[in-house]
Symmetry: C2
Subunit: 339 residues, 2 copies
């Protein structure tokens, strides 16, 4: 398995990336390709005692900043660590690409360098949520702020392909994120998407509300990228707010402080469940290559986990699964304008 890691993606680049590349080799025995300025990467690798066969540096003189405008950067920074990484993927020198950099930038480079899978209207970014007794794939979580019903139908197919090949589920249950469970609830987009998914060969269970998602009643949750992003960020914000509130209240009194100390293992377990690092990175589905985008705040552990998810996806044939889901869909439905 050959994974390429953007050496300059995370907020604290390149230290977490350098450590993660070494750790990934020691964990799985695969040489990691690390992109970025040689003069920054090599001394750090040397300092950590990495051998040449463990991590291969691929020089990329430019760095995409979080403040860079995605579309502009994709044109103006052809030699960024992200661009070079995608190119390695395109040239078949790697099986998957992982970055903790600018999401919009990664999306722009992916469209530009790798292109869409034939028949895919819009690629979608997915997140894997921890839910009661399992996981749920939510997409789109931010690649497309405005969507059409036919995009959402494709997200449903791509999300199912992910749940089948990477999570190992058979006939994953697909739900539409909505403001009410009953058919007929939702905004115009949801209402128009509903019959399309219902008429498909997917295991459609109708609309789902946030509560049902966390209760584990859907494996794949489909929404537009704006709503999905709000859903993701609200979940993170509420979890963070709650943990800080509990801490504050524990600090307020002696008894509760002792209680807090004794309850610490419980808090830690909850914290782990909510930690994006546990899940590594979000796959960008629908482009011609396996691209995984991690949180800017990713540390070494998060990046190693992201590499793990990327390896697993490559091994399970995710790209082929998405291709075949889209092809089957195209074959099953009347030809339509591809915009």
């Amino acid at each position: 398995m050959r994974i390429v890691l953007d050496g300059m993606g995370s907020d604290n680049h390149p230290d977490p990336e350098v450590s993660a590349a070494i750790e990934a080799y020691r964990k799985w025995g695969d040489q990691v390709l690390l992109t970025g300025p040689e003069h920054m990467l090599r001394p750090r690798l040397k300092a950590l005692g990495a051998r040449r066969d463990e991590v291969r540096v691929v020089h990329a003189p430019q760095v995409l900043e979080m403040t860079d405008k995605p579309a502009k950067a994709a044109r103006n920074k052809p030699d960024s660590s992200m661009a070079i990484g995608m190119q390695l993927l395109k040239d078949g020198e790697a099986d998957a690409f992982v970055t903790a950099g600018n999401t919009g930038g990664a999306l722009a480079y992916a469209l530009f360098r790798l292109g869409r899978i034939r028949g895919v209207k819009r690629p979608a970014l997915s997140a894997v949520f921890p839910v009661q007794d399992g996981k749920a794939v939510v997409l789109d979580i931010g690649a497309n702020a405005d969507c059409r019903p036919d995009y959402l139908l494709q997200f449903a197919h791509m999300g199912s392909a992910y749940a089948e090949s990477v999570l190992g589920l058979s006939r994953p249950r697909v739900g539409l994120l909505s403001n009410g469970e009953e058919a007929g609830k939702g905004n115009d987009l949801v209402k128009e998407t509903y019959p399309l998914v219902q008429a498909s060969n997917l295991n459609f269970m109708g609309n789902v509300e946030p509560k049902e998602i966390f209760a584990g009643s859907a494996d794949v949750v489909v929404c537009d990228g704006f709503t999905g992003n709000i859903f993701l960020k609200t979940s993170e914000a509420v979890a963070g707010f709650l943990v800080s509130l509990i801490r504050e209240h524990i600090r307020a009194g002696l008894i509760t402080s002792l209680g807090g100390l004794l309850a610490k293992p419980a808090f830690r377990a909850v914290g782990r469940l909510l930690d994006p690092a546990e899940y590594g990175a979000a796959p960008l589905l629908g482009v011609n290559g396996l691209v995984f985008i991690g949180h800017g705040r990713s540390d070494t552990r998060a990046l190693v986990n992201a590499i793990g998810v990327a390896r697993q996806s490559a091994e399970s044939g995710l790209l082929e699964a998405v291709r075949s889901a889209i092809q089957q869909r195209l074959a099953a439905s009347p030809p339509e304008a591809d915009v």
Copy 2:
């Protein structure tokens, strides 16, 4: 102050309503008007020892069920406890109306019986969120699944009027719920709304993400009713999921179980902060009357708090504040088609 309470609104009606009406009288000394079937309300009031001057029953033979289709019910059940309650408000026999019933039904009756304030395009349902060191008004949380930029501008004005008159804030900070803080982030609706709010006389602080909302950086958060509903329900779902996770982990081990016991006051404080009962009910802004809609699961305490919020809103002149905000806005802007 004269408050009318829908006697048949909550899931467990009419017991919580009957108790709440009595408790509200004993708390504030105001006679509460309670609507619903006399044969159900009177025996319960008698059993609880309520005097006639404490609670006045206004007979309403019909009950709106949670399963009733709102628009249909508004036509077919003209004598429901909700309809009669709204009518009392319209006829000037009450200052505010409180219900824990079907939200869509309340919206339909309000539009039908009370009508919109002149110039208001769409009424909005608001929720008051507990945030770091304060509260934030979020609207719309479900009255309008699909919105236009001019609706959102009006929500911003109505939300500011609420924050000023009920929460007592001067120049409340208004934010647009978005998937990124920078201007230019958002879906088409947010992008088109941004310049409208910016050009208004409101204290606009730009886009806000969920994290900033919980950090308390906006007093009024504006969004379409679909997104607002997802935001509200995701917050509730994550809080519920977390609390259940913590409980589960505490039950798992002896030490942590003792810890959990000792940390109980902290959990209770957090639970209170997240309990919708603490905030009572969501005001429906933009209709010709003060209408407050509580959660179907409201108990007596939640209903008493809802009556408290309704009283406070009537006392502070909320209806006039909303009217005047909309009138000022109409005077300040060129005439436009009112659809």
